[in-house]
């Protein structure tokens, strides 16, 4: 598309006084294409994807809820797209939006300190563990141990290791819950803190968390809440009330930001007042200035330019910050979409989402019970986990998953959590209609029936997609990471 680019309008002069100019590159093999060729290629790739906008995508723990179009519209605004992070003129507007989301997260978590800089949940976790380490260090303690339930996401132990602390596993109790007794058994002065996901990855609410938190606090430890499943309780339960000191939130899961192909996301960190000075930065702060108001207020449809005081916004580094975890101000584009999402829902709308997510999961859970018996208990929060009912037929969970694709529904999360053998982890989200929940139920019933009658149908799935089952072993054994482009 060279014809669409500016011509070089200055001399080919190199203004170097000292060292010489580095060697110029001779070959670059990236091919030239017409715009239409580019469009067709990528439109074709798009057609080769399942997506929420196409079909149900009940990936447990990943929370594939609907991403509203209005969020994309706002984020597409040229002012938001084109402002440089060091633009002085842009700081007020952008800090105002970041501050707005910080405030909402305070309301929802009950934790008064928030930083939006972490670029993803895992980075929020790392930041949180760094805070725990720093907090202990400043107390003069060199505690190293972080307690982590065996149902936790792999990021928990990985983040702990990355921060130089030592993860220690606690077994989940027989009801799929963490038990105070089990925690007390390992709780000693070496423990820097505990990481708990609530509801946990089995979709079960951790009743005993308040008591566990009390015990951990008592020995001088901190409680980290993994917010991966916050979408089950947002607007209903504030993690701060449960004794959580630090928590990250995956914005895409709870607040419907697009997460195409695995990212970008954003992993804001919320902490108690005591820990706020440790937050990674910068964070947005407000101060009151007197001014003639020209800024519109949301929900107030008049705009009368009255005199008065107003809030002014800017970014600062928290005083004892564990540091920067990312350049600039985090994933602002994601912050903006999440802010829009909360604005249009209101806190009540977020609450309604949580309730419906839980209702949908329980409905589907009960509807499927004769076919797929859940691993634990009688009820769930926003998701539930079932062991593969066809193991005796020699059918693996992956076979069920692949067969679902044939029926035009994406598979649930499989083989996680690790404590349930051959797990299927189903999360319908609040976005799906009753008809769609029933459709998923029927597909699973049909597949289990097929598995009982003729296991081969499942083992050879998918049958109806452009590609059959892909050989992942080969990809690992003889890895090919890229094409070799011709000269």
């Amino acid at each position: 598309m060279l014809s669409n680019l500016p011509e070089l309008d200055v001399p080919r002069d190199e203004y170097t006084q000292g060292k010489g100019v580095p060697k110029k590159r001779r070959h670059l093999t990236i091919p030239d294409h017409s715009e239409l060729e580019v469009v067709r290629h990528f439109k074709g790739l798009g057609r080769a994807n399942f997506s929420i906008d196409d079909t149900m995508y009940p990936l447990g723990s990943c929370t594939m809820k609907y991403n509203p179009k209005i969020s994309e519209e706002v984020a597409g605004n040229s002012v938001f797209k084109n402002t440089h992070p060091y633009s002085e003129a842009g700081e007020e507007l952008h800090a105002r939006i970041v501050h707005g989301l910080q405030d909402f997260l305070v309301s929802l978590t009950g934790l008064p300190g928030v930083s939006l800089t972490p670029a993803a949940g895992a980075q929020g976790e790392l930041s949180g563990v760094l805070i725990i380490r720093e907090y202990q260090r400043q107390r003069g303690s060199s505690r190293q141990v972080m307690l982590i339930p065996d149902s936790a996401h792999g990021t928990n132990p990985a983040s702990v290791a990355m921060a130089g602390l030592v993860p220690k596993t606690i077994k989940t109790g027989p009801e799929g819950r963490l038990r105070l007794a089990d925690v007390l058994e390992v709780l000693d002065e070496s423990v820097a803190g505990i990481m708990v996901t609530n509801p946990n990855t089995l979709g079960i609410f951790e009743h005993e968390l308040p008591a566990i938190a009390e015990a951990v606090h008592e020995i001088g430890g901190l409680v980290y809440g993994d917010g991966a499943n916050f979408n089950a309780i947002a607007g209903i339960i504030r993690p701060g009330d449960l004794g959580v000191d630090i928590m990250h939130i995956n914005l895409h899961k709870t607040f419907g930001t697009p997460h195409g192909g695995g990212g970008p996301g954003a992993g804001p960190l919320c902490v108690t007042r005591e820990l706020a000075p440790f937050l990674p930065g910068p964070v947005a702060v407000s101060q009151t200035v007197s001014h003639k108001s020209t800024v519109t207020e949301l929900g107030n449809d008049s705009n009368d330019g009255r005199e008065g005081s107003r809030q002014s916004f800017r970014f600062v580094m928290p005083e004892r910050s564990v540091g920067r975890v990312r350049t600039f101000y985090g994933n602002f584009g994601i912050t903006l979409r999440a802010y829009v999402y909360i604005l249009v829902h209101g806190l009540n709308g977020i609450r309604r989402n949580s309730i419906q997510a839980v209702l949908n999961a329980n409905y589907l859970r009960k509807r499927l019970q004769p076919t797929l018996s859940p691993a634990f208990g009688d009820e769930c929060m926003h998701e539930f986990v079932c062991p593969n009912p066809l193991v005796t037929q020699g059918v693996h969970t992956i076979d069920i998953a692949k067969r679902m694709l044939d029926y035009g529904i994406h598979a649930p999360t499989v083989y996680f959590p690790l404590i349930v053998k051959e797990a299927l982890m189903i999360e319908p989200t609040e976005s799906e209609s009753l008809a769609q929940l029933d459709a998923l139920g029927e597909v699973l019933e049909k597949i289990v029936k097929e598995g009982l009658e003729n296991a081969e149908t499942l083992k050879r799935a998918p049958h109806n997609l452009p590609l059959g089952r892909l050989d992942e072993l080969l990809a690992n054994k003889k890895p090919v990471y890229r094409h070799r482009l011709g000269g």
Partner: protein, 457 residues
């Protein structure tokens, strides 16, 4: 500008096939006098010019400084993004899909990631590029951790840094490595230095586990670093390079200069400024290091009918399998940003990338020369630089005040470096890209002349 599908060579093939010696012959049945001659001066305008025209027609486009007069860079650059890239990147088939856990249902995402790995690998001349990282800063931090993980011995804790790192990247690096007891040794940056000096300095380091060259560095300086890499290798260390993908179009890329691990910020490739994020962390390595590479990787394979397809691969390195023994805790990537970079490279092709790189390079040289000619102004990095350079204003001038006065005249003139170091009051970092026209550069020089002429208090 055109949207013709047949390229120059193929057009000649067509004419030959038809036995025609020129395209005029196609119209030979039309009497000559009825054919008009081409209007030689109207070859159309670029998308950039078109956008500028239409925003000018609307009297108050967005009440702010026009794009051509924005010279702020410092790690995030104001580049042209084709309408086509925006249109395709917003396809909800990509944006509302998830991590491709079921590859048969996610070939679109997977093939795009594979093509990103291919094009970016080609650009950097590296064997393996991962399927993206949060940003350039965290990519570098992970590169250092990766190098540390394979260090030859427990006492090897020295890490050499040649070239100026972005101050915020230094902070990220400190955060990521805070408990690793790495000793960061910076080559003291002079106005000019030779590779020999660097090699000599390196020889003085006893416990090196890796060395990093930053090129272009924070001030835009670029160097040849093959010899530096040799010396680092000689000392048993890994050779890391932090670079910029566009500069690799113009200069010999890290892979051909011996780099083992490469990190970069991919924002210049089709990713909107968006107040600092989401951006694209690029992380690449030699094939032998792939088991230590963090982040997702897409690989090629076949299906049960022998058809070619793509899957996520080597996931045994990752946290969801290896948990605390993973190479990193990274899970979410920047898939949509990798897609944008791919779309950008595909749309540009080598010809377009080369044009963009040339515009940035020669225009920056043009502006630097003009500004350095102003009384009392000096260039801080007078060696070769790419897209960006740093000037020191005359004594008594504060870069912060000067930029504020230039803002009032409709320029974002650059980043006053007092932002990062309050002692650097006179330094101004200026970036020039294909959006900054010659006219806008001339206007900036004129405005600077005027502003600097009036001495400040």
């Amino acid at each position: 500008m055109d949207f013709i599908g047949v390229n120059h060579d193929d057009k000649n093939r067509q004419l030959k096939f038809l036995g025609l010696d020129s395209e005029d012959a196609l119209f030979s049945s039309v009497p000559e006098q009825l054919r008009v001659s081409p209007a030689a001066d109207d070859n159309g305008v670029t998308e950039l010019q078109l956008r500028r025209f239409f925003s000018g027609l609307q009297k108050t486009p967005d009440g702010s400084i026009e794009q051509a007069r924005r010279f702020i860079g410092a790690g995030a650059y104001n580049h042209f993004i084709p309408a086509c890239v925006d249109a395709l990147a917003s396809d909800s088939s990509f944006t509302t899909a998830y991590t491709p856990y079921q590859p048969e249902a996610s070939q679109g995402t997977l093939q795009a990631l594979f093509e990103y790995q291919t094009f970016m690998g080609e650009l950097l001349m590296m064997d393996v590029v991962n399927a993206s990282h949060y940003d350039g800063g965290t990519a570098l931090a992970e590169a250092v951790r990766m190098a540390f993980a394979v260090r030859p011995g427990d006492d090897h804790r020295e890490f050499a840094i040649i070239g100026r790192l972005h101050p915020e990247i230094v902070e990220v690096l400190n955060t990521y490595c805070s408990h690793l007891e790495i000793r960061f040794c910076e080559f003291s940056q002079e106005d000019t230095f030779s590779t020999e000096e660097v090699v000599k300095w390196l020889q003085g380091l006893e416990y090196l586990f890796a060395g990093l060259v930053v090129s272009p560095d924070f001030y835009g300086s670029v160097i040849d670093y093959e010899d530096v890499g040799h010396e680092i290798h000689r000392k048993g260390g890994l050779f890391l390079v932090h670079t910029d993908p566009l500069s690799c179009v113009m200069f010999e890329p890290p892979g051909s200069q011996g780099a083992d691990i490469v990190s970069a910020e991919g924002q210049p490739f089709g990713i909107p400024l968006s107040y600092g994020g989401p951006y694209l962390g690029i992380l690449a390595c030699k094939e032998g290091l792939v088991r230590k590479l963090p982040g997702r990787l897409c690989g090629e394979t076949v299906d049960d009918r022998g058809q070619r397809g793509f899957v996520l691969t080597l996931s045994t390195r990752e946290q969801h399998i290896r948990r605390e023994r993973a190479t990193s805790n990274i899970c979410t990537n920047q898939g949509l940003m990798a897609l944008r970079a791919l779309l950008y490279m595909a749309w540009m092709g080598k010809s377009g990338l080369h044009r963009i790189a040339e515009l940035c390079y020669y225009r920056a040289n043009y502006l630097a020369r003009k500004l350095a000619a102003l009384p009392g102004v000096e260039l801080v990095n007078p060696g070769a630089f790419f897209r960006e350079f740093c000037i020191r204003l005359p004594r008594g001038c504060s870069a912060k005040n000067v930029t504020a006065r230039l803002t009032a005249q409709g320029f974002e003139a650059g980043v006053a470096l007092s932002r990062f170091d309050s002692g650097n009051t006179r330094e101004l970092l200026i970036a020039v890209t294909e959006v900054n026209t010659r006219e806008s550069m001339d206007a900036l020089v004129e405005a600077c002349t005027e502003v600097l002429g009036k001495k400040e208090g």
